[in-house]
């Protein structure tokens, strides 16, 4: 089992955001979480990635059987969790090349692998650049500094390709992308997640992304919980009827 989330409750300050999330992801699976704004989708991926300020009050998250909640954000990353941000952060003054090399080597060190030297690193990124249609000049620019929305998202997926995580968390990766950029980014994700040892959890608002990245499972997230799960056809259903029907059913149920 790659990821097991059991009865996860979490809050930010006094506000309870996650109200009992159960989710299991096996190697080779792609899961999509869809839900209305403010339902807690992003909170869930941030809890998995280990962002400070989110207090887990109940439940657990196991990653390959290990207690993820006991680890710092960097330890989780080194274990193989990767979060592609909805709003990638700009770090002016630090080159993408340096940043990525430091990241790759921190992870390799953790795994007991030798660090990559400049040449080996260059070889690694060249291959990934080709895959994601990224120009060489990208590496010499500061991390996300002055990048367009599309470039930032592409950079996230590029970083993911270079870092090669076991579990990819994609937080609204499609937001702010035009159709061409969406295609490039999706192709990248598909190439990476083709590896059957990996799992992907993507959070999205729209069905659109799922035309490109086809999920094995779709979960509907409402008010801090998964209220409905199904196959990829569930996304189409949502697209046609919106979340209103589900929310109504929920209210009727209560």
């Amino acid at each position: 089992m790659l990821l097991e989330i059991k009865n996860l409750h979490a809050r930010i300050g006094e506000k309870e955001i996650l109200k009992g999330v159960d989710l299991t992801i096996r190697a080779g699976e792609t899961h999509a979480i869809m839900g209305p704004n403010g339902s807690g989708k992003s909170t869930l991926v941030h809890c998995i990635a280990g962002r400070d300020g989110y207090e887990v009050t109940e439940g657990q998250i196991l990653f390959e059987g290990k207690d993820l909640l006991a680890m710092s954000a960097e330890e989780r990353a080194r274990e193989g969790v990767f979060l592609a941000f909805q709003y990638p952060v700009e770090i002016p003054g630090v080159s993408t090349s340096y940043f990525l090399k430091a990241a790759v080597n921190a992870i390799r060190k953790h795994r007991g692998e030798p660090e990559l030297d400049a040449l080996e690193f260059l070889k690694l990124i060249k291959a990934k650049q080709k895959m994601l249609e990224i120009e060489q000049s990208f590496m010499n620019r500061a991390v996300n500094d002055g990048f367009s929305g599309g470039e930032k998202k592409r950079n996230e997926i590029f970083q993911m390709a270079v870092i090669d995580p076991k579990l990819a968390l994609l937080d609204e990766t499609d937001s702010g992308l035009d159709i061409d950029a969406l295609r490039v980014v999706s192709d990248g994700v598909n190439k990476i997640s083709r590896d059957r040892s990996k799992g992907t959890l993507l959070v999205t608002h729209y069905q659109r992304l799922l035309d490109y990245i086809v999920p094995d499972f779709v979960h509907v997230f409402v008010d801090g919980r998964i209220v409905k799960s199904g196959g990829k056809e569930l996304a189409l259903e949502l697209e046609a009827h919106g979340y209103a029907d589900i929310e109504e059913d929920l209210r009727a149920g209560v």
């Binding site: 770090i91 002016p92 003054g93 630090v94 340096y98 940043f99 500094d145």
Partner: protein, 457 residues
Amino acid sequence: MTRIADDKFADVSNFATLAKSRSPLSRPWLDRIRTQAIARFGAVGFPSNKLEEWRHTNVSPIAKTVFTPGRHTGRELTPHVVAPFSFRDESLCEVVFVNGHFAPELSSLSDLPDGLVIRTIADAIEKDSKRLNEHLAKFADINDNPFVALNTGFIHDGALILLQRGATVEMPIHLLFLATPGKSPIASHPRVLVIAEENSEMSIVETYAGIGEGVYLTNAVTEIVAGPSARIDHCRLQQEGEEAYHISTTQVHLSHAAQFVDHSASLGAHLCRNDLNVTLAGEGAEATLNGLVLIGETQHCDNHTYLDHAAPNCPSHELYKHVLSDSASAVFKGQIVVRQIAQKTNAKQTSKTLLLSKDAMMDSQPALEIYADDVKCTHGSTTGPLDEQQLFYIRSRGLNVEAAKHLLTYAFAADITSRIKVDPVRRRVEEIMAAQHGLPRDLRIQKAAAHDEPVRA
């Protein structure tokens, strides 16, 4: 109250006696300037915290210390010791001063291009007195600042740089002021006069550094006069010793369409106070003031900048960034005066401070005085810790929290250094920053930014 007065007179008389006992090179006009200045200093003494301009910087430790004049015998330093502060291979010429005295054995001053005159002040007093008299002490006012009066009273060495009309010098001119403190405190009062005639262009770097341990005072005054359409890029690198007091005034006068860029980096000294005063006296003159302060422990650094918009259509851009760790404290006071005549002034001032410790203190105050009606003046100031989102972003890639902090601190400061156009200076500051944070050199971004690019980090 009485104590301050007692201190003042004790120490003022100490300096006054010193000034009288040693004026190695004399000219009647210069003696007059010195005498007036020391009289002024004697009358006002060291500034107390009661004065608005000195409210946050306490110079009483300087007033209480008995300093003797710094000496230079020629045997203090070897090129090897000087190397970390030198730009010898990357500058047009390097004029080195040790404890305030010209050090020919460490300097390289040959083969200057046509149109460029560089002399030591001591040499100019002797051989170029007329030209010196024309400009020296005409801009830095002894009545504005007691330390300017003190420096002026002690004028005996430093540098005179004159670039003649239309001349362009590409490589930077480096003035390196070294102190070699010892058991008893020493003081030096270096003086620099830069004259850039019409449509000339040059880069000047001033470095102030200490070698060895001990208490000393550097009290420097630099006057820069830019003629019409002259372009001056001025870098000031302060790397004084741990126990040093560094006081400076840079007084700049800009004529019609002159362009002046100042990059100041304050990294050293126990106590540092820089006054940078720029008068935009001619229409269309432009000033860019960028400053970086990186201090820790119990260091204190106070930057006062004064932009006097005294002519129409002058843009000015100002960006100061502070990184304060441990119990360091800093002051930034950015004064902008727009006179009634200075219509269409466009002045932008930004101050950003990164507090790396709860004990660090920053006092950032913009002060705008606007007497013209058709002007654009903006100012902004932020002070705070590292950005949580950025920290999380870096940690989510596997780097530990310490590494993330180092990287972000570096990036914050690099936003300033990337604007430095004098490449060796930029490289030096960035290498010092990288070393402070245990970072390698290869994280530098190759592309330099414009002087006045929007602030990002």
